[in-house]
Amino acid sequence: MIKYTLIPLLPLIAFVINILFGRNYIRDKAHWVAIPAIVGSLLLAISAFFDVAGGNVININVYDWIVSGDFNVSAGLMIDQLTAIMLLVVTICGTLIFIYSVGYMHGDEGYYRFFAYLCLFIFSMLVLVMGNNFLVMYFGWEAVGLCSYFLIGFWFNKKSAGDAGKKAFIVNRFGDFGFGLGVILIFLTFGTLDFVGVFGQAGSFAGQTINFLGWEVDLVTLICLLLFCGAVGKSAQLPLHVWLPDAMEGPTPVSALIHAATMVTAGVFMVARCNPLFIESPIAMNTVAIVGGVTAIFAATIALVQNDIKRVIAYSTVSQLGYMFLALGVGAFSAGVFHLYTHAFFKALLFLASGSVIHALHNEQDMRNMGGLKKYMPITYAVFIIGTLSITGIFPFAGFFSKDEILWRAFLAGDMGKFLWLLGTIAALLTSFYSWRLIFMTFHGDFRGTSEQEHHLHESPKVITVPLMILAVGAVAAGWVGIPPLFMEHGDKIGEFLAPVLGHPSGHGTHAQEWFVVGISSLVAVLGGIVAYVMYVKKTDIAGKIASAFKPVHALLYNKYYVDELYDTTLIQPVMKASDKVILGFIDKTIIEGIVNGIPNVIGVFSRKLRTIQTGVFGSYGLAMTVGALCIIGYLFFQR
């Protein structure tokens, strides 16, 4: 038991040590605390993986957390197959990115702070995936948001960084608002928050309705949709995707670890974890699928025209997360988790590689000022190519297997599925295009930056390139655990491994259909690459012509569909205006204070009149007193 508790605890201890002693004692040796901790967690996670590989589930209640009446929630850990996969993803990516950060963050004055936050993040993420009930998961859920806030705003002297961190936290709060209500509703429905207890009863509540705010709605659907609100926020799906691109203000390792590989996939993990609930509600499933599919295309179109290298990858992340939700929504939970797993490798690789580029260019992120880097940074170029091949889904790279599985499962899922498959395929085309566009703009052509930058161009040190190479291996080979039966019988190891938790996807198709799907997706992947090659290497003036030809469309995409502006005018400004002018200025200052100060003012007017009686001359007081005495005498006399 202590072994499993230690998995999240080791990073926590490292965090405490670094944050308390980092500033004055540890300083630039912070990684000597952090890396052993995460390696320890990694080893324990591998051990835990083999413990559950045999099929048994570890479920420990550490202590009673909140007890109030019949509300009783314990702080407990659960490790099943799904958790085990997540543990590996988190700790492996974490370890590599920690090592990478040693080089990337070298010399930063907040070095110790950076590692402290990373350790706290790993702790939170591990708690999130290991919790054995919704409240512990919610704990991790919020805590990763906190770490994300810290790390996005790591360079807090930049206003944009602070703003981005705040935006991330608050947008996530909107999602968590739904998640929290979902958790409450789960308890009120099932009488427990334990995963085992809730999922065990899920079937018996199917079809029940509840009066929610005056509407009669299906109970399980309501719960699922509320939970999904949380996932939408955390995984940056429409309409709460706005925070993720801004989150790129954080250091690149953070973008790789939190905003690509682990935290943003928490939503996917959560929906997968709650699959027994979601399965009971077709409406919720369809919602998940449609939100995922639409987000996949939506984000991909924005990525087409962005010029900031990290933002392109960020929108690509949003798009890929959309894919995962699409998979979950069509019932292919294991496919979603599989994509989560491969995506962690290739997207972390892409981010870290772009970090390497940015590092070499001294924090230049605009691709228009790059170009021709392949001769200066061969290793980065190579791993970038590998990552891109993987994300675009070229056989036999990791992305191919997972993406193909998703599209195939979508294809099988009825009429709606066909539509979703179409969305996914178009998104794949766009993905291919913008990914190659990124490569061509960055590494091909001539260098467009300043000559001073060119003078300093160099390949990154080993501490950066070695993790890149390891991740590149992952980006190639990670998908080989999920080879579809089409190519190899019993090749879908990961699907079988996850089956006890996530079940088997339904639906069967012919080999011909499957070849069709595979063929189409491979075709569009290549097609996108070719188009990008033509536009950005061969005839570089085409891009500008197209942009000016479709000016409104280009502006729309370039400005991210004006979603930020929409929120600003419809939500933020009204709240600020209302609070300043209406609430504080009018209600508080005018009405309430008016009444409060008005009463004394009225009294004041009277008393000013009245006090003239107080002449201060005691003769008049004597007179008044005598008159008073006279009145009393008169009263007594006439009363008789």
């Binding site: 009446g69 919020e142 805590a143 209500l181 409450i184 705010l213 300043d580 309430i592």
Partner: protein, 516 residues
Amino acid sequence: MDNVIMNNLDYPILSWTVLLPVFGSLLLLFMQNARAVRWTALIFTLLTFAISLPLLTQFDKGTHLMQFVEKHEWIPSWGINYIIGIDGISILFVFLTTILSILCVLVSWNSINTRVREFHIAILAMEAAMVGVFVSLDFFLFYLFWEAMLIPMFLLIGVWGGANKLYASIKFFLYTLVGSVLMLVGIVVLYFAGGKTLDILTLSTLSLPMGLQFWLFLAFFAAFAVKVPMFPVHTWLPDAHTEAPTAGSVILAGVLIKMGAYGFLRFSMPMLPDATRLFIPVLMVLSVVAIIYGALVCFAQKDFKRLIAYSSVSHMGFVTLGLFAMNTQGVEGGILQMINHGIITGAMFLMIGMIYERTHTRVISEYGGFAKIVPWYAGLFCILTFASVGLPGTNGFVGEFLIIFGAFKAKQIIGVLSALGIILGAGYMLRLYQDIFFQDAAPDFEKKGKHPVWDLDMREVLTLAPLLLLVFWIGFYPNTFLSYMHASVEHLISRVNYTAYAGQENLIAKYIMEIF
């Protein structure tokens, strides 16, 4: 006295807790040296805390009865007795009061330099009165302490306050006095209605006629709602907080405004159960309005301290919402949230006081980049910010979650709206944090500038340490505190749900129609 557990320790523990600060303040009368005064006050607050500790260990958590009860006849001809005792509801407040008093003395160590002796006398008198309010089991005694509290607080604001102190102190005084006077009328009526007794426990078992309960509830509501403060009568709070010295703000936020909610728990609910149930919808709506209203107002604040003061309105809205949800989770969450708010907001005011000593400004826009200038300060304030926002792992989460849970259970729409308050809370707190600590440092406060700003020293860290410890303690293991409440809260809820008018809601409605 068969319905209470008499004090079985070999000394009158509660009386000592009340009287020690009084002795301390009397002793201070004879001191001149400011240093000696400070040390004496510190020693007496520490002693009081030490004395009150056995309450926590010796407390029997299994019963709702009053414990450590001491009873002496006082004015027998009017049925007035000296009865004090505590139950699961009040014990934590006594604890909170004694701990915050220590911190108040500590935080004033350097910042109060005028009339040092009188200041500490006021603090000690305040402590005695506050503990007295929480332990009184006789209405007369209670009212005595309740009003006695007003005077030191009035002085703390009026003498050691900021620029606009006179306005604030008089506003505070008048507001609370108006409420208290109505309560006094209520007490007198209860005295005659309850068979000429002022014994709170006896009065808590009466079933009064509905009409009487209705008016009595309004009278008590006036006193308690002002103190909390609930929505339309909250405007004294920002002024009082802004102008009060740090210690005054801490006491005000930490304990004083808890009195109102405590009053609801101890008096309104058990004595007037039918009226309470009648008013619950109104009170819940008012609470939610306070939550959202308080949060929205925070967005428009330009003054550091005033913002926190308005956030108190929002947080106390949560407290009252929980109490009036009238189920176990809501009430326990409400009580816990009172403690939490005392800890978080108390600590925040302490920290604001500390930074004010260095910068001499509270205007948010004059700050900036303080994370670089005072990193430890920034770190600790960060913890409090997120505790205030209600992040899991801090005490704010446990309280707010239980309250929203309770509210949702009682009335869904209320629960949903109150959860919105949490989003707004994150908004204004993070905005504040960013404006104060992020971006480039304001030029005035750079280390070489005209106002050198230095990081927290040992005394200040020690002042904050107990509260920060409690933030995480309650966050990770709230059962230590929740377990004290269970029995008392269950009893309270069953009392409110018990009624002489079961199933006669239309009768009550008819009564109200008749009034208007």
